[in-house]
């Protein structure tokens, strides 16, 4: 098992500048905030004060005996169990903490030094109680690098980031390295774009570096539009300075003096934290007119997206920043040659940039030493859907799908979150551009090329686990509806093709499809892939094509047997009354909104299929469970 770098910091933090000071760290990511983390924070402040502890909110060089530092951190990734509270150096992680729990934590942990057992995490698989991160299966199997400081550092405190070595890589890049050397080091590291395509970052930079232009731009792509992915949000919220540092190194590498961070508008907290981080960096003289005293200028603007999935595509994002409709343009020319306002521009994903400082500091070899030869380094995945532990997981490339989906996840659950034995059906990887993989792929190592071979892709790293109660045709329809809605309309095949694919899927789901439908779906899907300009259209049919490939039987059941094995496709339901169970009480007759049920009292009733709208009211009303097939 890989060593967990994040734990080292959490366990002993001599380099914080406050040796030995005890810390209470509250997760203040979107998930924990929604669950009331701020109330918990305020309560801590009050209770600690009353217990005679000295609450320290700012970083200080000296610490007194009764000092306890109370701070917020970014997303710690274990969103489902939030609000999370870590106590350092005790190595305790409390989950689902409510304000009412705070007095007990203060009294028993902060004053007496013992753990409050009922607030510790209990592994649903083994029922074992986990005191901290090392024995928590969700964290212990991860290799957190990009996420390393998320969950520990206060994202709103630039000093703390700097005390942890923050901005040292940017400093090195500006003072000791030539742009050529930076590009070389990044190329040698083998870093590939974390946003989906997996294009070698070094090559992209080099292409922009060799352009002779007075003005160049770097854009950080934080327009994380894939439904089911939230790693960029977490990094921007949890460690915004690491993104800025990566951005600065990129700017130095290509010779740009203006950078942009394009953040999705649905992430107000990320926008706020990025803005604050930029302002703080300017105040510290890191960004601005005289970067590290070199006399070089570097500006950074945080821009808010306006809600268009296609803007995650490079050329569409450029159009959006220029104030136009976010529609892609053909490549070449590549943005590295002619991008924003016609100038050489590089666009990198948040996670890609967050890897850069470490590569500069630790070298290309160290980065290459983890992951696979073709896909070096770690990747963050958003593990969601029908699993016990949803959240962010960072693992080396090459990790088996099984380890993530069945082990770190804590197992597959039913719709109510209860563990479900043999419940695994599929995992949807890579969002609307990705594909659905099955049990047979669980031993596949996660990497760019291995996934592409089976018709899926790493994408931005969304992993949605689906249980046996999920209808795969409906799942394909869900993604198709999304891409159809988000198609910008420029390419005919994407605009009209996705609409027709959606209509064909509706035919399958509503029982109108025939033997020709599947062929048509496949043919049209391939046509849309070929006939679209940008990644959105090129990958839009993937969910349909991959489910057709691995779950063809389910499509056929819908078409030929007019049956959905999960019972989720309403139009295919055939409610019938079981004559043996029915006592003829008449409750269902009263409940039916369309008058489809008839029958004499005390004799079995009957549903008229012509009138029935399959609403299921009769099944809910019947106390004897005599209505079947709903």
């Amino acid at each position: 098992m890989s060593t967990n770098q994040g734990l080292v910091i959490l366990n002993d933090s001599p380099n914080v500048g406050q040796t030995g000071i005890r810390r209470v760290i509250l997760c203040a990511g979107t998930g924990c905030m929604a669950n009331g983390a701020m109330k918990v924070f305020e309560r801590f402040r009050k209770e600690m004060d009353e217990a005679g502890l000295h609450v320290v909110l700012e970083l200080r060089p000296e610490a007194g005996d009764r000092d306890v530092r109370l701070s917020k951190s970014g997303c710690q990734g274990f969103c489902q169990m939030g609000p999370l509270v870590s106590i350092v150096p005790d190595g305790i992680l409390y989950t689902k903490v409510r304000a009412e729990d705070v007095p007990e934590i203060v009294e028993r942990t902060l004053v007496s030094g013992e753990a409050v057992e009922r607030l510790l995490y209990k592994d649903p698989a083994t029922r074992r109680i986990c005191r901290g991160l090392e024995d928590n299966p969700f964290y212990a199997r991860q290799d957190r690098r990009v996420l390393r400081e998320c969950g520990f550092l206060d994202p709103e405190d630039i000093r703390e980031f700097m005390l942890h070595g923050g901005y040292s890589a940017a400093k090195k890049a500006f003072l000791e390295m030539s742009p050529e050397n930076i590009c070389k080091q990044i190329s040698e590291s083998g870093l590939r774009g974390r946003g989906g395509g997996g294009f070698p970052t070094g090559r992209k930079w080099e292409a922009a570096r060799i352009q002779k232009a007075a003005k160049k731009y770097v854009i950080c792509n934080g327009d994380e539009g894939d439904p089911g992915a939230f790693m960029n949000r977490s990094v921007m919220e949890g460690n915004p300075h690491s993104v800025i540092e990566g951005l600065m190194i990129a700017a130095r590498a290509i010779g740009a003096d203006q950078t942009f961070v394009y953040v999705r508008a649905e992430y107000p907290l990320a926008v706020e934290r990025m803005n604050r981080a930029v302002a703080d960096a300017e105040r510290e003289g890191i960004l601005g007119k005289n970067v590290f005293g070199t006399g070089l200028t570097l500006k950074c603007n945080v821009l808010e997206g306006a809600g268009a999935f296609v803007c995650g595509e490079e050329t569409a994002m450029i159009a959006s920043i220029e104030g136009r409709r976010g529609m892609p343009t053909p490549k070449p020319p590549f943005p590295a040659q002619s991008g924003l306002w016609g100038k050489p521009t590089i666009i990198n994903n948040v996670e890609t940039l967050a890897h850069v400082p470490r590569i500069i500091n630790e070298g290309a070899e160290a980065f290459r030493s983890i992951g696979t030869p073709e896909s070096p380094g770690t990747k963050t995945f958003a593990l969601t859907g029908h699993v016990a532990n949803t959240g962010l997981v960072e693992v080396p490339f090459g990790t088996k799908l099984r380890e993530l989906v069945l082990e770190i996840s804590g197992g597959v659950t039913d719709d109510n979150g209860k563990p479900m034995k043999n419940g695994f059906k599929a995992v949807q990887i890579g969002g609307p551009s990705g594909g659905c993989l099955t049990e047979e792929h669980l031993d596949l190592p996660l990497a760019y090329d291995s996934l592409r071979k089976v018709g899926a892709m790493v994408g931005s790293g969304g992993l949605v686990v689906l249980n046996q109660r999920t209808c795969m045709v409906s799942m394909a329809r869900f993604f198709m509806e999304f891409t159809q809605r988000e198609s910008c309309g420029k390419c005919v095949l994407c605009r009209e093709g996705t609409k027709q694919l959606l209509a064909l899927l509706d035919d399958v789901i509503e029982g109108r499809a025939d033997a020709g439908t599947l062929d048509l779906l496949e043919k049209l899907g391939r046509a849309v892939q070929v006939g679209s300009l940008c990644g959105l259209g090129k990958t839009a049919p993937n969910p349909v094509l991959s489910t057709l490939r691995y779950f063809r039987k389910e499509y056929e059941e819908h078409i030929f047997e007019k049956r959905c094995r999960t019972g989720r496709c309403k139009a295919l339901l055939k409610p019938e009354i079981n004559a043996e169970r029915c006592k003829g009480c008449g409750v269902c007759i009263k409940s039916c909104p369309t008058g489809a049920i008839s029958g004499e009292k005390k004799k079995p009733h009957h549903i008229d299929p012509e009138l029935c709208i399959k609403c299921g009211a009769c099944a809910t009303a019947c106390k004897l469970q005599a209505v079947e097939g709903v």
Partner: protein, 184 residues
């Protein structure tokens, strides 16, 4: 009298818009941030304001309308007092977010077509992903995120807001009555 009021309103409206345009230096490339700032001010983009922005930036009105209709965040119609956004991202979807949407629609008398309730108190929207997948299914009322939703809890939440609003109205009415009494 009413016309004079309207004229004052209008002057006020354009003064705010001019302030926003000033801050962005009348640059056409700043169109999206400008529209975002205007929407923050009015909760939507009134048509006459769009025309005014086009003229001020020396852009064809079609270009401004084109941008305003392209991006999902821009609303050309007034929204209700509270905006309820139900997340239908993948994680929320597989955890049954659509029954929550139906329950809210049924409770408020809204629908896919009519997004704002008749009393203009609520606008119901779906959103592709809020990035709070760990809490799925999620809904957001104004800026507050609610996780682990069920149709029942969602309806209860909506009714709670309704009750608060009615109480607020009653209070406001009571205050108005008291005010009158004081004047007398």
């Amino acid at each position: 009298m009413a016309t004079a009021h309207l004229a004052v309103d209008r002057a006020e409206k354009f003064r705010t818009v001019c302030g926003i345009l000033d801050r962005h230096g009348y640059r056409p490339s700043g169109l999206i941030p400008i529209l975002q700032a205007i929407q923050r001010e009015y909760q939507y983009l009134p048509e006459e304001v769009l025309t005014f922005v086009a003229t001020s930036l020396d852009l064809p009105p079609a270009r401004v309308f084109g941008v305003a209709t392209f991006y999902a965040h821009f609303a050309l119609e007034q929204k209700g007092k509270h905006v309820i956004r139900i997340c239908d991202g993948t994680a929320c979807h597989v955890k049954q977010s659509l029954p929550i949407l139906s329950a809210i629609h049924a409770e408020l008398g809204t629908s896919e077509k009519q997004k704002t309730s008749n009393d203009a108190l609520f606008t119901v929207e779906t959103v592709a992903c809020l990035g709070a997948c760990g809490l799925a299914p999620v809904l957001v009322v104004d800026e507050q995120v609610y996780g682990g939703m069920t149709p029942e809890r969602a309806v209860a939440l909506v009714n709670e807001i309704k009750t608060q609003e009615n109480a607020g109205d009653a209070q406001a009415a009571a205050a108005a009555v008291n005010g009158e009494l004081h004047v007398h």
